[in-house]
């Protein structure tokens, strides 16, 4: 690379922000707020809670339509009973401090749903396709429920103890700032892992 190029091209290693990016220059005012797209385990439990209630209300108020949609042909009473169960689970998930028992309740409910649908698939010849689709949907929900419950269980077990402090575990002879760059010569030993010079900051040539 020739020298004139070096001086005419803006230096990419220079950390001055480019135009229009000055907002990043401002010091951070405390931790940034979680983005709207983020889902905490609690938020997930709540989401499943609302889902339970919606499904429960459908089963309770419109057992016929629900039966038709899923292709199951067992009685209105059974479906309404399932609806009550879903609503109870939903309320539990939305109101309790520890969502765990309710999440496992959902898993048990999923198993019951799957058993009912499976029995239906065997005994009932018409609308098999609908029943099979309903089973696949319930299996997906079951997987999500099991995972949510598992995650909640592990988190509860982990956070039951105060966190350990390992701030004395440096692992190097000197404090990090004094160790910075102490092993730079190692880079010569791995030529195939070096950046092609065209991609390196100009200042380091």
């Amino acid at each position: 690379m020739n020298e004139t190029q070096n001086t005419s091209i803006p230096d990419p290693a220079n950390d001055k922000p480019m135009t229009g990016q000055n907002e990043f220059d401002k010091p951070s005012s405390g931790p940034a707020k979680p983005k709207a797209m983020q889902l905490t385990p609690e938020a997930m439990a709540k989401g499943l809670g609302w889902f339970s209630i919606a499904l429960g209300v459908a089963e309770l108020l419109a057992p016929k339509a629900t039966a038709q949609a899923t292709g199951v042909n067992y009685g209105k009473n059974l479906l309404q009973a399932y609806g009550v169960r879903e609503i109870a689970t939903g309320i539990g998930l939305l109101t309790s401090k520890d969502p765990q028992p309710w999440l496992w309740g959902r898993v048990a409910g999923d198993a019951l749903d799957l058993a009912t649908l499976a029995a239906d698939l065997v005994s009932n010849s018409h609308k098999r396709r609908n029943t099979a689709m309903a089973m696949i949907a319930v299996m997906g929900v079951t997987a999500l429920d099991v995972w949510a419950a598992e995650t909640a269980r592990r988190e509860a077990a982990r956070t039951a103890q105060p966190p350990r402090d390992y701030s004395d575990r440096v692992g190097m002879a000197l404090p990090p700032d004094e160790m910075r760059g102490k092993a730079r010569e190692a880079m010569q030993s791995a030529q195939d892992l070096q950046t092609p010079s065209a991609l390196k900051p100009y200042t380091l040539h």
């Binding site: 001055k16 350990r164 990090p176």
Partner: protein, 389 residues
């Protein structure tokens, strides 16, 4: 002898199995004195890696004393203290001669299977599925080490097991991850995952001269250890990773990104994590690439992604457009352990690094099954477990 054996998902048992024997003149039998549970063992424990069979002996991080050597093994003598790298290599094939030990062409006994799955075989690994040879692992009283005249690292007197054990895997893995970043003194290196490999990657990046090293995790104990090693920390459950990385790099993004998490990223907090978890549960996807997506998104154009984290199969919704248009370099692979061991052993002897800092739990081999759970669930501040026979 006694060993920790895989019996299925979340089912590791302390079993009695037959003693290993010399099967080839270059073999050696090692009497294990210390072994460790590695983060990638958890992929087997959780049933996310294919190719395990009931009764397989686990473990690929171990060291011990040479008990017996085959007649053609000129390197080792009975009584030698050795650390055994997790990649089995022949030292003779084209890849070994180039120093690409983890893709040795000859040591995978199930080469045909690996050829089919990956297109080409990679090296045989200890205790890590039949896809990589189905070799018995080192979480056992005795281990058969094939091609023992190549990889094992002889340890000089005066060093403890704890100081050198990690030369077999996580220390060179974190080191290679940082070396692959080709760190310049102006670089910000962001490390996703402050588990054991992340901890070594952080210290390696500091020693290789990075201007700024940033560690991303959610567990306070891991973050405190990362900070001790010189990292600025981001708790992804408390703040936005992307926003904070932008702040710390004046809007330009880190030049170098290291994925020390791999296929089981814990992203319950992100929509894409939920999507991947659901697909993974019904076997439509094997790996969860939340970290990869985030790295590709935030990395500075023309930067490097270094991926020591283990992936097993397929991933979905990878932002290939960003990867290509930003001109990112991707470097990945199992560790070419022996490329780095001479240098790293010397650094330990010189006192520059003491890898034992990462050990938080020591237990007996018999307590192994329990320790798998403690490690997996990050209970009791667990970061790294060492097991003793």
């Amino acid at each position: 002898m006694k060993a920790l054996c895989w019996h299925g998902k979340k089912d590791i048992r302390y079993d009695t199995v037959p003693d290993p024997k010399i099967e080839h003149p270059r073999d050696a039998i090692i009497k294990m004195t210390s072994c460790a549970i590695c983060g990638s063992d958890l992929h087997l424990f959780d049933g996310f890696m294919p190719g395990m069979e009931k009764g397989d002996v686990m473990g690929h991080e171990f060291m011990g004393e040479v008990m017996e050597v085959g007649p053609e093994n000129k390197k080792l003598k009975v009584g030698d203290k050795v650390v055994v790298p997790f990649t089995i290599c022949c030292g003779e094939c084209e890849q070994c001669r180039r120093g690409n030990f983890s893709v040795c062409e000859t040591t995978n006994r199930n080469k045909d299977l690996a050829d089919k799955v990956f297109g080409h075989t990679t090296a045989g690994l200890f205790g890590y599925t039949h896809l990589t040879g189905g070799y018995a692992g080192g979480q056992a009283e005795f281990v058969r080490v094939p091609f023992a005249d190549v990889a094992p690292v002889k340890i000089p007197d005066g060093l403890s097991d704890e100081q050198v054990l990690f030369l077999g895997d996580i220390f060179p893995t974190g080191w290679q991850a940082a070396v692959a970043c080709d760190i310049q003194s102006t670089d910000t290196v962001a490390v996703w995952g402050a588990g054991p490999v992340g901890q070594f990657a952080i210290r390696s990046a500091v020693m290789l001269g990075a201007k700024q090293v940033i560690a991303i995790d959610r567990l306070p104990e891991r973050l405190s250890m990362a900070k001790a090693g010189g990292a600025i920390t981001i708790n992804f459950e408390e703040e936005s990773v992307i926003e904070r990385l932008q702040q710390l790099t004046k809007g330009k993004g880190p030049e170098k990104c290291i994925d020390a998490v791999g296929m089981e990223s814990h992203a319950t907090h992100a929509i894409d994590g939920l999507y991947d978890r659901a697909k993974q549960a019904v076997m439509l996807e094997t790996d969860r690439p939340h970290v990869l997506r985030e790295m590709i998104y935030v990395c500075r154009p023309a930067g490097i992604l270094s991926i020591p984290g283990v992936y097993g199969g397929f991933i979905d919704k990878l932002p290939m457009g960003a990867l290509m248009n930003k001109g990112l370099t991707v470097r990945t692979g199992q560790t070419h352990v022996n490329r780095w061991t001479d240098d790293l052993l010397q650094r330990i002897v010189d006192g520059q690094v003491d890898p034992s800092f990462v050990i938080t739990h020591t237990a007996s081999l018999e307590q192994g099954p329990e320790m798998y759970k403690t490690f997996r669930d990050k209970l009791d501040g667990c970061i790294k477990v060492v097991l003793k026979p």
